[in-house]
């Protein structure tokens, strides 16, 4: 136990939380934007997986990290639009479409991987590009902050930017107010002349973009290659964090932070001699207990209200 504490109480550990937390936060924000507009983006997991692969393939084809990133983003947005088209235009149940996209991508990515790299497990044979890490000179000298906020991958800073921009847009702008109105009462929104369809499509595009960034981060920073099913539930964790945070962005961020903490523990302990099979279950137990705690708290809140 003391050993564990000594591992956790380091600057390194904080940096690890950020490193493992970025894809979770992208996933959470992706779910948040969609949910705000009244849609459930159940395909986040699949979108992240697809973009993670497309980032590798794209940067391999173009030999440019930036173009690879753009290709990853495009693939994410396309999948999100597919979800929107099926649910909003054709009226299919969002869960059904979400499950279809997730199962499709989990196997289609392996197919593509095999097609282009000849390997069914990992894309190591493809020389793909990664995005640079960024060192901020003046920040590095500050203890703790320097370790956490400097020397991270480019997409980490993009994530930080979105953490500031997303709530600002939702809380402060006309666009945000209207988006919330669509999500909370679509009929009421359309009765005052808001084009609900248009708003929701715009939200799903942003949601797709955010999920794609989370996916690209996995292969262009966190790791430098694609391996099968490497998203491993990160999209779902984001989805859960959104559901638990409700409409509160702070709630969502804190929940995501808690999940990141568990992920970071795994990352740290995997260097020790604890069984790795056991370790990988930690974040999922975290989610499970998180959801249980959340349900119990809500139950008592409701009971208190009804009495």
């Amino acid at each position: 136990m003391a050993e564990l504490m000594s591992m956790i109480l380091t600057e390194d550990f904080l940096a690890t939380i950020v490193r493992v937390g970025v894809p979770l936060m992208f996933a959470s924000m992706s779910a948040y934007v969609a949910a705000t507009s009244g849609l459930l983006n159940i395909a986040i997991e699949g979108i992240m997986l697809m973009s993670a692969l497309m980032a590798v393939l794209g940067s391999y084809w173009t030999q440019s990290a930036v173009l690879g990133l753009l290709i990853a983003i495009a693939s994410g947005i396309l999948l999100a639009l597919l979800l929107a088209f099926m649910t909003m235009r054709l009226g299919t149940d969002p869960f059904l479409v979400g499950i279809a996209i997730n199962t499709f991508t989990s196997t289609f990515t392996i197919f593509l991987l095999y097609l282009f790299s000849g390997n069914k497990g990992i894309s190591a044979s493809l020389p793909s590009k990664v995005l640079p890490t960024i060192n901020i000179g003046w920040l590095e000298k500050i203890p703790i902050l320097g370790a956490v906020f400097s020397g991270q991958y480019l997409l980490t800073y993009v994530c930080f930017a979105f953490i500031i921009i997303v709530p600002l847009v939702i809380q402060k702008t006309k666009y945000g107010l209207r988006l919330k109105a669509c999500g909370l009462n679509a009929q009421a929104a359309s009765s005052v002349g808001i084009n609900v369809n248009k708003m929701q499509v715009s939200a799903i595009v942003i949601s797709g973009l955010l999920a794609a960034l989370g996916g690209a981060y996995m292969t262009m920073g966190y790791l430098s290659a694609f391996s099968r099913n490497m998203i491993a539930g990160r999209g779902w964790i984001g989805f859960a964090a959104q559901a638990m945070g409700g409409s509160s962005f702070i709630g969502l961020s804190l929940t995501t932070l808690a999940f990141s903490f568990f992920q970071a523990i795994v990352a740290v302990l995997s260097r020790s001699d604890v069984s790795s099979d056991l370790l990988t279950t930690v974040p999922y137990f975290g989610v499970l207990f998180g959801v249980i705690a959340f349900s119990v708290v809500n139950y008592f809140k409701r009971r208190k209200l009804s009495v």
Binding site: T173, A181, A188, S191, V192
Partner: protein
Amino acid sequence: MKETILELRNITKVYHNGVVANRDISISFEKGEIHSIVGENGAGKSTLMKIIYGIESPSEGEIIHKGEKVKFRGSMEAIHAGIGMVHQHFMLIPTMSVVENIIVGDEPSNIRGIVDYKEAVKRTRELSEHYHLDVDVLSKIEDLSAGEKQKVEILKTLYRNAEIIILDEPTSVLTPQETETLFEELFKLKEMGHTIIFISHKLNEVKRISDRITVIRSGECKGTFENDEVDLLQLAELIVGRKLLSSYSELKKDVDDKKEILRVEKLYLSNKEKNILENISFSIRSGEILGIAGVQGNGQSELVRAIAGIGPMSSGEISLSGQRIEKLSVKKRRELGLSYIPEDRLGVGVATTAPLCDNIISSYYDRADINGHFFMDRRKISETANNLISKFTIRTNSIYTAVGDLSGGNMQKVVVARESNTDPICMLAEQPTQGIDIGSSEYIRTQLIEMRNRGAAVLLISADLEEVLSLSDRVIVMYNGMISAHLSNLDKISTNDLGLYMLGIRKQTSDELKEALYE
């Protein structure tokens, strides 16, 4: 000469499926009048309003707004032209504040799409003061009463500079007091030069506030009248297109061998703070309708739910034909001959997504004749459903139509048909005609009287005092969870007298109240 602000000329609306919703309707609306449009559900009022509000476009005819021919493509254009609509179901977002609800879609902003909330609060406050529509603009919608929500809806239209305000059945969710407040507000708006188009089928309200009244029946305009040209009965007959019963008492027949059927004694229901029901005692004999009058929320609903067995009680006795039932399950009570028409039609009365034929047997689905040995006897069920449909003249496409797709009146007829099909000895009728059209209301009232004539005991709870007085043989009034009056000589009672008891201004002595319970 008054100034015409909006005129409909020969409006006809034919839907794609060939249904003619409006046929050759011409109405003119004057500036600064309250103009009511009355008609049965499905008469075409809503379609007509959608045409004015730009949601539907007319197949033929034209709309003249301030002397100019207009064609609204979408409600946005109608809003810009100064037409506002308050929908029957609130178009509000419960978790948002009043201000946000009012401004959304048309927000004041300073730089680049950032909402200027300070300005928004200022403007909505000014608006609320100017029109005397008192509401705390910073509170959340979910914390408001129905009456306040309505104010927000009206403010929403005024914020968008509406000169013509359409209110679609605005009082259906309001208490009598809130309704009165709404009327005062509407009078003020009228004085300030706004035109109010008031859609309703509550004729006494229409008579109370309108300058002019237009009647629509089966998609056709049956004339526009000055308020003092027509009385209530004439109006009702214009709406249904036939003679109506002027009195229900002539339908009543004397019943021999009156026995006590329902007996409620010393019924209490209390929570930690207070008694919700206190010392309720009364009884009903066969061939008798006992009416319960009272302002909604004075315990009537809790009382009937306790008797029906779906709500709690703390102590007391309930007997049906001499047998104690207060501990029995709902099912047992029903088997003993209890029937219940609940107030919450959509939530308790029917399963909206289930077909009519299932709804019409749902309270006796396990009866041997329709529940075969293993499978339900579908043939018998359709036979039952078809019989009841023709007996109760329920308008539906087929017995498989989801009940939720029927009009309110037809939905209620399904409930009444089911509840009376078990030949109950005691019927609990809770707001049986609330929110439904005149034709169906009359039919349901006649059914209650017929049940009474067959020897059933009927408990009638209604917010409609006219209904209570015209159907009941005796009346008790509830105030604050207690019985405040028991009245058996109804010829001499006016709605005003009832009102005094309902508001708790008068209360009978305990000796007088004892008479509610037959010895």
